[in-house]
């Protein structure tokens, strides 16, 4: 039956698919003013830089969590791999920033590829724990090879060259901000392109119903391996940025709290539409900065209260404004992932 579709249906379908992939006006609104922020808040350059790095890290996590449904509590493994790669290079005289980016991203992607095979099976909890376990093992390794990494003292003595020999990472943090922002932007464009490709769509299918996806002819494992590798690479870039802009790497980049934080950030911002990582990073860091300035000892209490409130009130309502804006974004924010489809009756393998 190779009938023809009605022209009107075909047109509507094409328009619908194009619409969801096209750049929305809102996206220009997000990106265009960003470089200017530094002039508005010159004193917050470091905070802005950290936000950009965290945002990139969260976007990388969104690729696997929001699009492929892989939860991870060990994403810092890749962040750390990137940071240490760039750090060790810089400490040994290879301080060119772009070289560090390339090497750190590649190293993290490689690590992601190698470990991706472990996260293909099992439940959410299994994946949480395997990713976390691998990260902690990596942390211990970094501690053990202190000759290379500096162990708990941290990697001291990195010298990062000026970017393109022109812009050095100064005390004001402006270079760092522009550098991180540029990398974030480039990585984001890449991720955006990726999720709107057939490959990206197929990830959502794998996430939505892995079994059915296989019965559409999708090699689900390969897709997951691929996206996990890409995501690890981007997380590695975020790690490189942190290493290069602070010119210091310590075991902390591999710590549990880093993975937990990025997960929180992403969940706050919302998963599955890429901007969640950015919004989450902005909200979380600003809150943290503001609260910890007000009450250095007990700011965690207020952050905690905030999280509880966000959940109880409902993220939709809380971030209502953002949510409405998000309607202009590519794809729908899948804030509340559908509950796992009920166990599939007798079809369960």
């Amino acid at each position: 039956m190779s009938g023809e579709a009605k022209p009107s249906t075909l047109e509507a379908a094409r328009a619908s698919l194009m619409r969801s992939a096209a750049l929305k006006p809102f996206e220009y609104l997000v990106w265009l003013p960003l470089p200017l922020l530094i002039f508005l808040f010159p004193s917050k350059a470091f905070l802005l830089n950290e936000i950009a790095i965290l945002a990139l890290f969260a976007v990388s996590l969104d690729l696997i969590l929001g699009f492929a449904g892989i939860v991870s509590l060990g994403h810092a493994a890749f962040f750390g791999a990137g940071a240490y790669t760039a750090g060790i290079l810089a400490a040994n005289g290879f301080g060119a920033p772009l070289l560090g980016l390339a090497a750190g991203g590649a190293a993290a992607a490689l690590l992601g590829f190698a470990t991706s095979f472990f996260i293909l099976r099992g439940s959410d909890l299994t994946r949480l724990m395997i990713t976390l376990g691998l990260q902690l093992i990596l942390l211990e390794l970094a501690n053990r090879f202190s000759g290379l990494t500096g162990g708990t003292d941290g990697l001291y003595g990195m010298t990062v060259d000026p970017i393109a020999g022109l812009f050095s990472f100064d005390l004001t943090g402006q270079t760092a901000w522009f550098y991180s922002l540029t990398v974030l932007f480039a990585a984001f464009l890449f991720a955006r392109r990726l999720v709107h490709s057939p490959f990206g769509r197929s990830l959502k299918a794998v996430k939505g119903n892995r079994r059915r996806a296989a019965f559409l002819g999708i090699d689900t494992n390969r897709r997951l391996v691929a996206i996990y590798t890409v995501s690890a690479g981007l997380a590695g870039l975020a790690g490189v940025l942190l290493a290069q802009t602070t010119q210091f790497v310590s075991l902390d980049v591999l710590d549990f709290h880093r993975s937990a934080e990025v997960l929180l950030v992403l969940v706050i911002g919302g998963t599955g539409y890429l901007y969640g990582g950015i919004f989450g990073a902005v909200i979380f860091k600003l809150m943290q900065d503001w609260l910890s300035g007000m009450t250095p000892q007990y700011w965690q209490f207020w952050i905690g209260l905030l999280l509880v409130a966000i959940v109880l009130v409902g993220r939709e309502r809380m971030t209502g404004g953002l949510g409405r804006l998000a309607a202009f974004l590519p794809g729908r924010p899948a804030r509340r992932a559908a509950k796992a489809p009920a166990a599939g009756g007798e079809d369960a393998p």
Partner: protein
């Protein structure tokens, strides 16, 4: 009054596993200010406190912001070695005098000419207890240290001092920093049956260690417990109970230090902090502020980094812990080290000082 105030950026872990360090240092620093007023050489002193949760990139970011935005004249605090390391380049670049009030790895002061320290270095304590052990009939020792840089420092300097004086290290054990249970390690110590075990664990873990040490019957097996003062931190010593009795450590400060300066300090500290005992971190915070005040006196209120560092070098005064000074060469602290034993005094446990080694410099930087 026409002059602007002098800002001091105090960066400490106020949350997370090392929060109690932050708490002590802050309390010490504030106590000094309340006792000595908030003006020096005609300038008002302002303390800006920030939490870094013990994460180096946050410490560094905070330091950078404080330098660039708040225009602080001093950076101070630093609960852990990597936090100080991360900040060192900023001190150098911005020429901001940086007072390390807690971190104890020896090499910190070498990372920037603008760093001075008022806490202690692990080699100082380790070498003293190593020498003392060898001279007091201890022949074979097992070392048990937390597996991170300060632990390695402690292990290394204890071992060299101890073996140089004729002792023998029968086994070296590193305990993971995040270690909930000391049982297997202590069993290993017991099976090696040394004369003593030398221990360094971060002060928080001391209590658990101490109890398991007694519980496992190591004391009864004739194994003595020696170490740096961290394991018998004054802050929690009293709660450890009799398990801690008889522990011999080398350290630079004990609440029980017998001097008028200390009596006054302890009394005021407790009064200001709800009965909390000061420990060696508290006194380091106190002395850190003392250092800043005196340096400013000397420069006449000038906060130029290089001038201040010049003023800091060689400063000497009597702290609650005894006479101390800043080594002009290394900017590290020179102080008395004491051999103390845990004893019960009036129903409370104290590290009672027994021997004094005067004006000990950081051995790691000698020669």
């Amino acid at each position: 009054a026409a002059q602007e105030s002098v800002k001091i950026g105090l960066i400490l872990p106020m949350t997370g596993p090392f929060a109690s360090t932050g708490r002590q240092v802050e309390a010490g620093a504030r106590l000094y200010m309340s006792k000595h007023g908030d003006t020096v050489a005609g300038r008002k002193i302002e303390l800006l406190l920030k939490d870094d949760a013990g994460t180096p990139d946050q410490t560094k970011r905070t330091a950078q912001e404080m330098v660039v935005n708040d225009k602080v004249s001093f950076l101070a605090g630093f609960g852990l070695t990597p936090l100080a390391f991360a900040t060192a380049p900023i001190s150098t670049q911005a020429k901001v005098p940086t007072i390390v009030m807690a971190a104890a790895t020896s090499s910190i002061t070498e990372k920037s000419p603008f760093i001075a320290r008022t806490s202690f270095t692990l080699p100082q304590a380790s070498v003293i207890i190593g020498e003392w052990a060898a001279e007091n009939g201890i022949k074979k020792v097992v070392t048990l240290v937390s597996d991170y840089a300060p632990g390695a420092d402690a292990q290394k300097w204890f071992a060299s001092a101890f073996t140089e004086n004729g002792g023998e290290i029968v086994e070296e054990i590193q305990v993971p920093l995040r270690n909930p249970d000391f049982a297997p390690f202590l069993q290993r110590v017991k099976d090696a049956s040394p004369d003593a075990v030398f221990v360094f664990v971060p002060s928080g873990a001391g209590a658990a260690f101490m109890k398991q040490f007694r519980d496992r019957g190591l004391g009864e097996a004739g194994i003595r417990l020696i170490g740096t003062g961290d394991v018998v931190d004054d802050d929690i010593l009293n709660d450890m109970g009799e398990a801690a009795l008889g522990t011999v450590t080398a350290h630079h400060y004990s609440v029980a230090h017998d001097s008028p300066e200390n009596d006054a300090f302890v009394k005021a500290f407790k009064a200001a902090n709800d009965g909390m005992r000061p420990n060696f971190m508290g006194v380091a915070g106190y002395d850190g502020m003392a250092l800043i005040y005196q340096a400013l006196e000397k420069t006449g209120g000038d906060t130029d980094g290089e001038k201040v560092m010049e003023a800091i070098k060689g400063l000497a005064w009597t702290s609650p812990r005894g006479p101390i000074s800043i080594d002009p060469k290394t900017r590290d602290i020179v102080q008395n080290m004491y051999i103390r034993e845990v004893k019960s005094v009036d129903g409370e446990l104290y590290n009672v000082e027994q021997e004094t080694f005067e004006a000990v410099k950081d051995p790691a930087k000698e020669g």
